[in-house]
Structure formats: C-alpha cells, structure tokens
Amino acid sequence: MTAREVEIDGATAFLAQSGPAPAQDRPALVLLHGAGGDHTAWFQVARAIAADGGTVLVPDLPGNGRSGGSMPASVPALAQWLWSLLDAVGAGPVVLAGHSLGSLVALEAAGQKPERVAGLGLLATALPMAVSDDLLATAERDPPAAGAMMTKWAHGSGIRAGGSAVPGLWSTVLDFTVIAATRGGALHAALKACADYPEAQGLAAAARVAAPALLLLGAEDRMTPPRAARRLLSAIAGAELRTIPDCGHMMMVEQPAAVRAALRALLAAARAQDAA
C-alpha cells in the first residue's frame, strides 16, 4: 500500500493506494468510509482485494484522517471533491463502493458522472439516511460522546461481545478511537450531510446508474436498517441486494469476509459488463 497526497481545493487530500497506479483502461476500486471514519476502516478489505491484481484507492474524506481541509456538510460537495481527487491521481473508470455516508457519496458521484462508473457498491446504506436530532446535537457539542453513541448503535449483537476477525483487537474501542479523533466539526458535518441529502436527489442519481450495482446490508443494522434501502434498491436498474446475517452497521469489522466476497463479485460483474 502506498500513501499518496494530492492537493484539492487548497487542502491536502490523503489516499491509500493498493495495487498498481490507476489507469484509463481498467477500473480502479474506490472505497469510501463513513462519518467519523478514515481509510483504516477498510484495512481488512483493501489490500486483500488489491492482491487479485487490481487497483484499490481508499481516500480520507476532507477533515478526516490524514486529509486536511474541512468536511463539507453536503453529499454533492463530497462527490465533487471525490471526482477532483480521482482526476488528480489519474483514475479512469472506477468501481465506487462506499459505507454509510460513503455510500451516499458513491451514489451521488455515480449520478454526477455515470460514464466514469463501472460498478457501484452501496454498503450499509439508506435513503433517506436519517440521523437523530440527539446524535446531531451531540456531534456538534461533544464529538467523542457522539462517537460513543455511534459505536454502541453501529455494532451488531455479535461483535458487541467481541470475536474480532483479527486476533486480539477489541473492535468497540478501536472503532470509537477513530471516531473520537475526528477534528473540528468534521463529525457533525458528516452526519449533517447524511441527514440533509434529499431522497429525491438520491433517487435521481440512482436512475442514472447503468453499471452493475450492489446493495450490501447488515441484517442487524440499527443505523441503516435494511428496510430503509428498499426504495433505493428499486430505483437502480438491475441492482443486486445482499444481506449479511449476524451483522450490524460496521460490516467491514463485523463480517470482513462477506464484504470482501461481495466486492469481488461486484468487480467481476463490472469487468464482465465492460467486456460485453
């Protein structure tokens, strides 16, 4: 994995690249983290999939992780930022996959430039993506306290007891530590971007998606429950739905093997459509 930094809108944007540099003639997989996260959310996914031979790009959204700037409280602005970043690193076609907030960014980005998108993966997604007033207010006032609320809600019943796929890691504190480290108003802005993204805009973006699409949902997800993705599913032509049992919102931590398998299937479908 290579750490890359480029300048977008006057601020440093960080990107972890696994596999070869992106190219114009084959799609790169782009993995987008959720509110309060950073690229490390994908550590059980990104390099493993890149080992198949492709390029995997994992950015830190603005104001998160190693990316500077401030987090825009708007999904369309994040999608524009993403295209600027992908252009800056020379990416051609992409398979966009996002988790939670990242799924909305991927969806909106696909609506903005459907011709660039070879595949779309929406993980732990919902449209609209409701955020409670209590969580929004807490995120503005006390981000670590909001991070604690999110961690409690985000984990399914299995991972709350433990049993990490990576021996010795305690996911509760690991996930909380990443969220609690968000700077400035990044967490609040990210949650507000989720809450404010209009359903109609998301459905319009969905209608423009022609590439293979996958909705990957956690059966026990309490933040983006499977029922909250129904209209989105029916708005994307031919979209596949996969539901992971014994899984809450944090599927890359809770069921990393299922996430890897689903994303590999999406990449295969994207390649098959490209070949056809």
């Binding site: 994995m1 750490a3 972890a16 950073d38 490390t40 550590f43 059980q44 390099r47 493993a48 080992a51 992780g65 006390d142 670590p144 306290a145 991070g147 604690a148 609320m149 961690t151 409690k152 984990h155 299995g158 709350r160 007891a161 433990g162 049993g163 990490s164 796929a165 990576v166 021996p167 010795g168 890691l169 305690w170 509760t172 504190v173 690991l174 996930d175 909380f176 530590t177 990443v178 480290a181 990393p256 093997a257 890897r260």
Partner: protein, 444 residues
C-alpha cells in the same frame, strides 16, 4: 466497579459483564458456551491465496499458535475490553509482556526512564540484561514526576512505572507522569499487575500502554503463568517521530506501514506481527483457558481481596512489633489521596510492613505462620507472604535495596480471599514468633 457503560463511553456492557463475556461468542460449530481450548499448533488454509493473504496481514485469522490462537484471542480481547484498549497481545509471562513492549518500540542505543520502585524481575531486565542488547535505563523516584522529565534523553523511547510500586507501595501520579512523557513525544507504559482493571484503568489516566502479569490477580488462582500488553490506541506515533517501527515501512512485511494501515491499532498489530512472531514468547491455549476462568470472577474476587487487605492493614497497624504498614488504602499513607483518586474501589491487596526486629524478626515471623504461604508470587486466592530482601530483590545491593524502599525486616503480604479472621489469626501467630525471636527491648 466503575460505570464503564455510562454515556460518553462506547461500551454496551458494564465491566462485570465484560469480565464474563467479552471476546467470546458461543462456539458456532458445537454451541459450546465455555471458551473451547483450541489445542492446536496450526490452522488449515483453504487455499494458497488465503494463506498468502494471512501471512501478509491483508486479512485477519490464525496461522500458527505462536502468533495467535483462538483461545488466547478471547483472553486478549477480554483484557483489552476491561482496560479500555484497542487490542492486546498475551504472552508467556509478565516478563515476556514487558520485553514484547520494549522490543516493539526500540532497539540498540535506546533508553528507558523507569520508576525505581519496580518488580524485581522488571528491574533485572532493565538494569542488568537489556544493557547487553544496547538498551539502557535510568531509575527515578516514582513520587517525583519531574524526576522522570530530568532523566529523559534524546535517545529515550519509553517511560515506565507501576501504579503501585513494588515493594515500596508508592502510588504513581499517572496523569502527571503521562504529561511529562507526552511533552517529550514518549509513550507511558504502566505495569498494572497489582491493580487489575476493576481497580484502576491506567489508560483512563493518560497511560498509552498497559502490561500485566496475568499470572497474578487476573488469573487469581496461582495455576498458570501469563502476561499481556494492552494498547490504548491514542498515542500520536506520527507526531512523535521517534518510533520508526510503528510509523515507517516494515521490511519484514513487504514495506507495510503499520501506522498507515492499522491506525490506532498500529502498536498492537506490530507487537504481534513482529515481536511475538520473532521472539516467540507466546501464551499457550491451555494457560489462556485457566486464566480466563480467573477473569470471569475478577470483579468479585477483587472486592474480597480489597476488603481483606484493608482489614489486615488496620490490624497490623495496631500491633506492637510492627514499625510501619505500607498500604495506600490507609489514611496515613503518603499517597492516600492520589490512591483514592486512581483506585476508588480500593488499592489492591498487596501491602508491606516493617518488623521492628529486622531480619531475624522477619525470618521468625515467616516461620511462625501456618495458613499464609511463603512463596514468590502475589495475587493468588490464598494469602501469600515473602521477605523481599532474601528473595525477589536479593540481587540488589544494600544501597539499591534502600533506594527501592526495601528494609531488612520488610514483609510483603498478598492478602487472599480466605475468611479475614483466619488471616488475622495467622498473622498473630507470626507476630508472636517474631516477638519470641527478637524481644521488644532488643528490637528497639
């Protein structure tokens, strides 16, 4: 005992529940409710690609039980959960845990600033053995945080101490020493063996890493040796710039950068992937199983340990022939207020006291005991007693002993969970024997 599930923490379960459940889901194959002992050295790879992914740390899983094991992993997660860390690595012993932390952080030419009131085994490692490998240490007064600051050099890579010093029973001002360490870009490692997580969570008070001899109160029954290092996940490795093993590309993993890849879990991932893999001081699955039985009752046992220790300390304080009782839970202890702040549920179950009759009285006291066991351990359900000057600290010179607060008549007690009346009755026997050996007038 502390409200770990209160608003503001990410925990869904309270500590007493975590002690029973954390890290384990019922066995998915057979439904076993207890943690199974995975008595296996190695794990079948479904295919060559899966094996390559595991070896390259691209996916999680088990390869070989020197590096990780499912039974040991339950204990690791449980200890991380109880300490509030992002992860843990269990080791063959507490000494192995200390070595694992040091070997992960530094190499030849590095330096450690440590409290001078340390477990004798830790002192030996730092003072006598590690210098052969190019790592030296300075020892300072644990009651003087600025002494830690003064001892830090450009090559210092770690600040190390115990919550309650052994055997001096000094209480380390964790916040103050952490501030000193962080000011210089250094992590604070705390040996919290005397103060298991239901009594004190050093990570909540500024420490970055916590180690245990799990053999002691956590295991609780004196049946298995083990250690653990818990990673708090909040130290700023990149900002410090002093730790290339964490923040720079690793040659033995194809250039993997642990900090970029694993973020807050960089230290604990590196400790397992390199130091445990290469030095090999791993915990056996059978020992992890025994130690897990202890963890389940840790909150209950510590309540009894602490209540008994407080009763014994009060008793000893009132006895002729006892010159001084060292227990931070006693109001007269110089660090009592700090101890209450760091350990609101009690200051543990280890205490020391000085017999007025010196070495001869100490020997007679131990010989006169019937219930308490004379041995080199603490943290057993049984009350244990030792004379440090002739055992755990016997490698020290007279001057070193004095600097560590070990008098010739010092006795260390690890108060067990027996009926406190029986413990006190046995101590009366020992004190009577000491008085017979060294009459009061001679002791003065």
């Amino acid at each position: 005992m502390s409200d770990g599930a209160a608003r503001g923490t990410p925990y869904d379960l309270l500590p007493d529940t975590l002690a029973v459940h954390a890290g384990q889901r019922p066995d998915p194959v057979h439904g076993a409710r207890a943690v199974p002992i995975y008595q296996t050295t190695s794990y079948v790879f479904p295919d060559a690609d899966h094996a390559a992914q595991l070896f390259d740390l691209r996916i999680g899983g088990h390869i070989y039980s020197r590096i990780s094991n499912p039974t040991v992993a339950v204990l690791e997660e449980r200890l991380a959960a109880l300490e509030g860390g992002v992860g843990a690595v269990c080791t063959a012993s507490g000494q192995a845990a200390l070595h694992l932390a040091i070997a992960t952080l530094m190499g030849q030419g590095s330096h450690i600033v440590a409290s001078r009131s340390l477990y004798g085994g830790s002192y030996n490692l730092l003072q006598h053995t590690l210098p052969r490998f190019g790592i030296t240490s300075s020892f300072v007064d644990p009651r003087d945080p600025q002494a830690f600051a003064r001892a830090i050099r450009p090559e210092t890579r770690l600040v190390f101490g115990e919550v309650v010093g052994n055997p001096g029973m000094e209480v380390l001002d964790l916040e103050a020493v952490a501030a000193v360490a962080h000011e210089r870009g250094l992590p604070l490692l705390i040996d919290s063996t005397f103060t298991p997580p239901v009594l004190c969570r050093p990570l909540d008070h500024g420490a970055d890493l916590v180690m245990h001899s799990v053999t002691k109160f956590i295991g609780g029954h004196g049946v298995a040796i083990g250690g653990a290092v818990v990673d708090g996940g909040r130290f700023d490795w990149a900002g410090s710039g002093l730790f290339p093993t964490i923040s720079e590309d690793c040659t033995s993993y194809n250039g993997l950068n642990f900090l970029t890849e694993f973020g807050p879990a960089a230290f604990v991932m590196r400790a397992r992937a390199e130091a445990l893999r290469d030095f090999g001081a791993s915990m056996s699955p059978a020992n992890a199983f025994y130690l897990l039985q202890g963890v389940e009752t840790l909150p209950l046992r510590m309540q009894r340990h602490v209540a008994n220790a407080e009763a014994v300390a009060s008793f000893l304080q009132a006895q002729d022939g006892v010159a001084r009782v060292n227990y931070p839970g006693l109001p007269g202890h110089p660090d009592h207020d700090l101890a209450r702040r760091l350990m609101p549920a009690g200051c543990g179950a280890v205490l020391t006291f000085d017999l007025a009759g010196g070495r001869a009285a100490g020997a007679a006291f131990i010989a006169g005991l019937e219930l308490c066991s004379h041995l080199a351990n603490i943290g057993d359900a049984k009350t244990l007693v030792i004379h440090p000057a002739s055992t755990t600290h016997q490698q020290m010179s007279a001057a070193e002993l004095k600097a560590s607060g070990v008098g010739e008549g010092l006795i260390r007690l690890s108060v067990g969970i027996e009926d406190p009346k029986d413990i006190v009755a046995d101590l009366r026997r020992g004190l009577a024997a000491a008085r017979r050996a060294v009459p009061a007038e001679a002791a003065e």
